[in-house]
């Protein structure tokens, strides 16, 4: 933890949460800058160029979505959104607008730290995150050979259908990012239609079975019902939260 002085911009208006989270992040060796309003956050973002943004969507001056759009206009800086459980639509909206991940309030501190670590890891090697020479991708014991369109787990080939392979490949290209149903559907089928979410879920269920992953294990892919899927980076502790 010594050398990871990553700079985190924390946008949150509640001062108690701010104190707690700032302390938490600082003890983990991050540098934290804090903003309580969208306006202030925009200024800090431009002047400090943080490595990660943690954004609460409910801010006093304007919708946190506006700040999200502001950042995404010309930056790929990873953004983790803090959201309330009750509103799946908000999560989907934020993810589709470019947020990389979200953490549901109330969250455990381990959960937040795990997400930050995962996002930083994938951001660090953005260009070649998990990718091996020769058009391959590796995460844990899973290897994807993009040229041969094959997937291996622990050295054994997993026979996937065309659609299943396309989904796995798409998620791997965005490893660490929570991909919404509609983003995956657009990427795999090109267009959404009635029942395409159902179609996606059926494929995901089959993929999980073929990978030999038990329900709830979330080994390679995390499933957020009603929102989307995320391929987990090489970050085993994401499940320990």
């Amino acid at each position: 933890m010594m050398n990871n002085k990553y700079k985190i911009l924390f946008v949150e208006d509640d001062s108690n949460i701010r104190t707690v989270i700032t302390t938490l992040l600082e003890t983990e060796g991050y540098q934290v800058i804090w903003a309580g309003t969208c306006k202030f956050a925009q200024g800090l973002f431009t002047s400090h160029q943080p490595d990660v943004v943690i954004l609460d969507l409910g801010l006093p001056d304007m919708d946190g979505m506006r700040f999200l759009e502001f950042v995404r206009r010309d930056s790929l800086t990873p953004i983790i959104v803090l959201s309330a459980r009750s509103n799946d639509r908000d999560k989907v909206r934020a993810l589709d607008a470019g947020a990389n991940d979200y953490v549901t309030k109330p969250f455990s501190t381990e959960e937040l730290l795990a997400r930050i670590r995962m996002i930083l890891r994938n951001y660090q090697h953005r260009a070649d995150s998990g990718k091996l020479p020769g058009g391959k991708f590796q995460v844990q014991d899973m290897v994807i050979d993009y040229d041969a369109r094959q997937v291996f787990i622990a050295g054994k080939e997993i026979k996937l259908s065309q659609t299943e392979y396309n989904i796995v490949a798409l998620l791997s290209e965005h490893c660490g990012k929570m991909m919404t149903y509609s983003a995956i559907i657009k990427g795999v089928w090109g267009y959404p239609d009635e029942g395409s979410t159902k179609k996606l879920q059926v494929n995901m269920a089959n993929i999980r079975k073929k990978f030999g992953v038990k329900p709830g294990e979330a080994r390679y892919i995390t499933n957020e019902l009603g929102v989307g899927y995320r391929m987990n980076g090489d970050n085993a502790d994401i499940q320990d939260s």
Partner: protein
């Protein structure tokens, strides 16, 4: 009224009416023709009873009257209103249909009213119970934190740890309570139907289990779900809440429990979920009203953790009822409790 319902009503009316005609022809053949009016009267009564509103009953009354008059009474195959018997039976038939219609509408309204007030009563109970139960952990957190702040020097390190642990536990408990509260508010508006989407069973179970194992990583759960694709039409957040409540119910309240079994199987029309444990089971006298929101409130003081059993379970019942499903609890023969709920199954015809 939708087209499906209208079609159903029309088909039902036509079916009963045709049956009456066939019977009448039969009676005519057997030369017991004097009972034909009664047959049609009965048909009109049945139609009024089984269809919605008055229209079908009245139309069939008129139809029945014409049929009797035209085909089955003298003069045969001609309409004749001069014979007073014909007129009288026509009037009686119409009256029967109108009265039956009125009666059934009244009964239907009464039943809807009763169900509504039942739901309302349940929700009120639930909210009362929840707000009552929010106070206890809040008080604990409040006092523990003030003691830590004001009397810190007088406490041993061990005592401080206990306080902090209590704060953490009670906060976790509050988180669960708030999740349940949110679930109730999602279905609180009686008129607005819950928002159902098609969900693949595998994905539902996977999502719940991911969350559950995050909270209880050491807990052994055996999962037994159908190999084929099963689709349920539900509000996924609410059904996740039900499964989570039932799983955690076993963790928190089934003493000496080592093992949970989550089993799902599908019949032709229903999907049946079973959550079984090998713990202490449910006290027989509690079984009857276990979903009523009172379970656990009586033995509150013995073990503070008992307190949320009732609320979690009545939230489950409220959610399942809102999905038109059924929920039940029983003790297993070889020990432990079993909770079972059913949901409607969706036609899973699927092609890639």
């Amino acid at each position: 009224m939708n087209i499906k319902k209208i079609t159903k009503n029309i088909l039902l009316s036509l079916g009963i009416f045709l049956l009456a005609v066939v019977l009448s022809i039969l009676f005519q053949k057997l030369e017991v023709g004097e009972h034909i009016t009664i047959i049609f009267m009965f048909a009109v009564f049945l139609i009024s009873l089984l269809t919605d509103g008055y229209a079908y009953g009245i139309i069939s009354a008129i139809g029945g009257m014409l049929a009797v008059n035209y085909a089955f009474t003298y003069p045969y195959f001609a309409l004749d209103f001069n014979i007073p018997v014909n007129l009288i039976s026509a009037i009686i038939m119409t009256a029967v249909s109108i009265l039956t219609g009125m009666l059934t509408t009244k009964i239907k309204n009464y039943e809807a009213e009763k169900a509504k007030s039942e739901r309302e009563r349940m929700r009120a109970n639930l909210l009362r119970a929840v707000s009552h139960d929010l106070r206890t952990p809040l008080t604990a957190i409040y006092s523990a934190s003030s003691i830590l702040r004001n009397k810190k020097k007088m406490l041993t390190e061990e005592q401080q740890d206990v306080m902090l642990k209590n704060i953490e536990e009670d906060s976790e408990w509050l988180v669960r309570m708030v999740e349940n509260l949110l679930s109730i508010t999602r279905i609180n508006n009686e008129k607005i139907k819950i928002e159902k989407t098609s969900v693949i069973l595998d994905e539902l179970i996977d999502s719940v289990m991911t969350k559950f194992l995050n909270r209880h990583p050491e807990q052994k759960v055996t999962i037994d779900i159908p190999n084929e694709i099963v689709v349920v039409s539900v509000d996924p957040i609410l059904i996740e809440q039900v499964l989570m409540n039932l799983l955690e119910n076993a963790v928190f309240h089934a003493e000496n429990m080592t093992h949970i079994i989550l089993r799902v199987f599908a019949s032709e029309r229903k999907v049946i979920f079973e959550i079984a444990d090998d713990g202490c089971g449910i006290r027989e006298d509690m079984l009857k009203d276990i979903f009523g929101g009172t379970y656990g409130t009586q033995n509150n003081s013995a073990d503070g953790k008992k307190r949320n059993a009732g609320i979690g379970l009545s939230v489950c019942a409220t959610i399942i009822k809102a999905h038109d499903g059924e929920i039940s609890a029983e003790n297993r023969k070889d020990g432990g409790a079993l909770f079972r709920f059913t949901l409607g199954k969706e036609d899973s015809a699927y092609d890639e």
